[in-house]
Symmetry: C2
Subunit: 167 residues, 2 copies
Amino acid sequence: MNAPIDTKLDLVLKREIKAPIDLVWRGLTDPELVKQWFCPKPWGVSECRIDLRPGGEFYTVMVDTDGNEYPGTSCFVEVEKEKKLTWTTTMHANYRPAPPFQKGDKECAEMPMTAIVTLEEEGNITHYTAHVMHNTEAYRIKHEEMGFNEGWGTAVTQLQDLLTRIE
Amino acid sequence: MNAPIDTKLDLVLKREIKAPIDLVWRGLTDPELVKQWFCPKPWGVSECRIDLRPGGEFYTVMVDTDGNEYPGTSCFVEVEKEKKLTWTTTMHANYRPAPPFQKGDKECAEMPMTAIVTLEEEGNITHYTAHVMHNTEAYRIKHEEMGFNEGWGTAVTQLQDLLTRIE
């Protein structure tokens, strides 16, 4: 069952990726690949851990051009191979509630969200949909203004480029 | 895989329920039954909705002796029939992050937690374990001081009494 989209609270990005679905899934779930596309360049990802099961940890460290690090921890809640991958920042490994936001944490850690990525194959193309759920309209607007479409869009373009090279 | 217990952050209640496991599961998941035992008397539960699937809503309204209502919404994350039931207050239906705590909300809504209830059958007895995970030691202590053991313990006694009557 797909979660209904609430246009006040949610952001959605749809893209066609020119790669077969098994390769897209690998790109989404292999930490060594995720490190290469997950963050729009010139920023990068210095660390990534993926425990691919419901309740498993999804950990990344983004790095800006000055070398500042922005760690982020999520928890997978749905793992359906080559179909659906859902993770939430509201929890850490084994469904433990995420620690409360502390002054000094990087801004993005403040915004609770759940991301649902669904894939569908059509010929040589994989339809990619990212549905990101927030808990307030203010956070949806903030995320939009932080450049959700450009950011996630660029990341998905980087994913496609990467997949072309490893095919 | 069972979540490891962190004694600084977690509370655990173990009980033996004198009822077969299928009946205990029914008691945990049938909203009409949950209304009868989930809250230690003389408080009660006036409403209960259970959408029994990972991502499904778990909604209860507790009522004190003056008729004041304390609604609570959680999201199921693990539903393994007659084995394990896990829900978290950090999310609402379909894994949407729970709304931020507002001044005026009832106190218990402030404390994020995930509860994992596991069942194991041994003869005519069902071993019941509730493992409640918090995100700070302060919340664990607070929950303990609010009477976790007595509260959940009394509720489980009420569950057993109820099951005897419907057997």
